[in-house]
């Protein structure tokens, strides 16, 4: 198993008057699962289910209240433990649009050099060579390197944003809502790009999304989250055809299928 998560929990304090802690939000409430090497695992759930917190906890952005996470056998997340720098190279996290991770004031070349500067001691020439390699691997001309993010197209920005994390040859990439807010054809190009990169770099993906249709097109397995817990996990075809948990059933029943029966024909209309 590449990634092992054991009873992971994240709590956020609720503060009242004068900042006194009056309660706790259990954003993550004891989550356990494994991710195998080179698989694509989807995490689906609606707003507030904790999927984003899960992604951030795995990436070391949000500290855990309990539980642990191990990457290739080595523990990387545990209460009180600081997130090891080496793990930040092997496990990468992207929130929504990869191009948003680019500093708008830096040239693209500089943004690509930065991960190498932070993690390795390589001389400038070696870094430059690696940058050129990656640019070739993602299919972008080197001439773009001297431009600023706003001077290239949205699709190219996305590629560069992804290239930036590929500089460190990560093993696993967590993508948090990679297609949200995008037009359907742009969404398709993002999914195609993710597939191509996975093949080229032997990546493992953990994709977090509220859109079960998007996940169904690219994931091998899927985990359904509700109120901070995983309620069901399994191969995508099985979950979609034979959901067990009532919430999973509700979720699957809420995804329109073009050409199939209309869900609005017999939806119970009582409000949430």
């Amino acid at each position: 198993m590449l990634l092992s998560i054991e009873s992971l929990a994240c709590h956020f304090p609720v503060r009242g008057l004068f900042g006194r802690r009056i309660g706790t939000v259990r954003a993550l409430d004891g989550v356990s699962f494994d991710v195998a090497a080179e698989e694509v695992l989807g995490i689906v759930g609606e707003s507030g289910c904790g999927k984003s917190t899960l992604g951030k906890a795995l990436a070391g952005i949000v500290p855990p209240a309990a539980g642990s996470v191990s990457l290739a056998g080595e523990e990387i997340v545990a209460p009180g433990r600081s997130y090891p720098l080496a793990a930040r190279a092997r496990l990468q996290y992207i929130y929504q649009d990869p191009s948003a991770s680019l500093d708008p004031r830096w040239t693209l070349r500089r943004s690509l050099h930065e991960p190498l500067i932070v993690h390795h001691d390589w001389p400038q020439a070696e870094r430059e060579a690696k940058v050129r390699d990656i640019m070739a691997a993602i299919g972008l001309p080197e001439a773009l390197l001297d431009r600023y993010p706003h001077e290239v197209s949205g699709g190219q920005q996305r590629r560069i944003g992804l290239a930036r994390i590929l500089m460190l040859a990560p093993q696993i990439v967590i993508l948090d809502e990679p297609t949200t807010g995008l037009d359907v054809s742009v969404q398709a190009s993002v999914l195609e790009l993710l597939r191509d990169l996975r093949r080229a770099f032997n990546l493992t993906y953990l994709i977090i999304s509220h859109d079960i249709a998007v996940l169904s097109s690219i994931c091998d397995r899927i985990a359904v989250m509700y109120l901070g817990r995983i309620v069901e996990i399994g191969p995508i075809t099985q979950i979609l055809s034979d959901p067990q948990h009532p919430y999973t059933r509700k979720l699957v029943a809420s995804s329109p299928r073009i050409g199939g029966p209309r869900l609005t024909d017999n939806v119970s209309l009582a409000s949430d």
């Binding site: 054809s185 859109d211 995508i236 979720l251 995804s255 409000s271 949430d272």
Partner: protein
């Protein structure tokens, strides 16, 4: 043949930009019958929101130029008759926006906002704030909130917008859109900001509303799934032009315009990574004289580059603006 609620013919609008005139709407023909739900499908920048705003009268006046065309709503000429148009907006046609939370004033209770709206749009009770008319307003509001399936209308009236969930907010918005007894509702991506389970409920509500209140709905969306669910007819927009118009079943089983086909092919499905459409939509400020889709079209021919295709009827009720449209369903497999 019923008279359509909305009748738009050859509507062409341009915006003044520093790159010249952008033809944001070009030769748009559209008509909606009572109780009909028409889906306006397209991606960002295609003009669907512009069309919605043109109907609602919220386009910036000094920047917009109406080049030609007519727009009649419930018999009122919305372009020539300024007074009539102003009266119609908010009464004959109402609006359900994408993000309900942003449309509410966070400082006032829901009840206050509803009754204020009623005062503005119901001429019979205009001007009188206190007394019997206020109670009547509240009773009507409560009845409408119940009609949109909100389980505790009295509680909702005294709450503030941030206390409601997204789905509840949207139901209130729909109720507010129904109170003036409009003949048409313009809904611009009303479910885009909602969770999947709530989305399907609100879509179902819109269908019921059209059927029970006899109100026509113009439903602008980029989600083909949502269009499949509730639309009676689908119209596809690209670069400010309507490129295909067909009844729901016909559209989804045998779309003719190459863009419509490719759009359907880019929907994600179980186990299949969808095919992206290469290239990007052209800017409406620099359109070629031919078909706007010619740069990305897999079926492009010589005439496509020079002559703009007119809307041609392919079968009853099915129109497409294409020189070389797909003609059979079997071709679907080859897109």
């Amino acid at each position: 043949m019923t008279t359509p609620v909305l009748d738009i013919g050859d509507l062409s609008l341009s915006f003044k930009t520093d790159r010249g005139a952008a033809h944001v709407l070009d030769g748009v023909d559209l008509s909606i019958d009572p109780a009909e739900i028409v889906g306006l499908v397209g991606e960002s920048g295609c003009g669907k929101t512009t069309l919605a705003r043109a109907i609602l009268g919220t386009l910036p006046a000094h920047q917009t130029r109406i080049a030609r065309g007519h727009m009649r709503l419930g018999g009122v000429d919305m372009i020539a008759d300024g007074e009539g148009a102003r009266h119609a907006r908010g009464r004959t046609v109402t609006f359900v926006p994408q993000d309900p939370l942003l449309s509410f004033n966070p400082l006032f209770r829901i009840g206050t906002q509803i009754t204020d709206l009623m005062r503005w749009t119901s001429p019979a009770q205009a001007g009188r704030r206190w007394g019997r008319s206020r109670r009547i307003d509240e009773e009507r509001a409560l009845a409408m909130l119940a009609a949109v399936q909100l389980p505790n209308p009295r509680e909702i009236l005294v709450q503030y917008p941030h206390q409601l969930s997204g789905g509840q907010c949207q139901r209130v918005m729909i109720a507010m859109a129904l109170l003036p007894q409009p003949r048409m509702i313009v809904a611009d991506e009303p479910t885009a900001a909602l969770d999947a389970t709530v989305q399907i409920q609100v879509l179902g509500l819109l269908r019921r509303v059209a059927a029970e209140f006899g109100v026509a709905i113009l439903f602008a969306t980029h989600s083909l799934g949502a269009a499949w669910e509730i639309c009676d007819r689908v119209m596809v927009m690209y670069a400010g032009q309507i490129v295909e118009s067909a009844p729901r079943a016909v559209f989804f089983s045998r779309p003719s315009h190459p863009y419509a086909r490719q759009l359907l092919a880019s929907e994600p499905e179980l186990g299949r990574i969808p095919k992206a459409i290469p290239g990007a939509a052209p800017s409406t400020a620099s359109l070629s004289p031919g078909c706007p889709y010619e740069q990305r079209c897999p079926r492009v021919t010589e005439i496509c580059r020079s002559a703009r295709p007119p809307m041609r009827q392919l079968e009853t009720g099915h129109w497409a603006a294409c020189h070389n449209p797909w003609t059979t369903a079997s071709d679907l497999a080859h897109t």
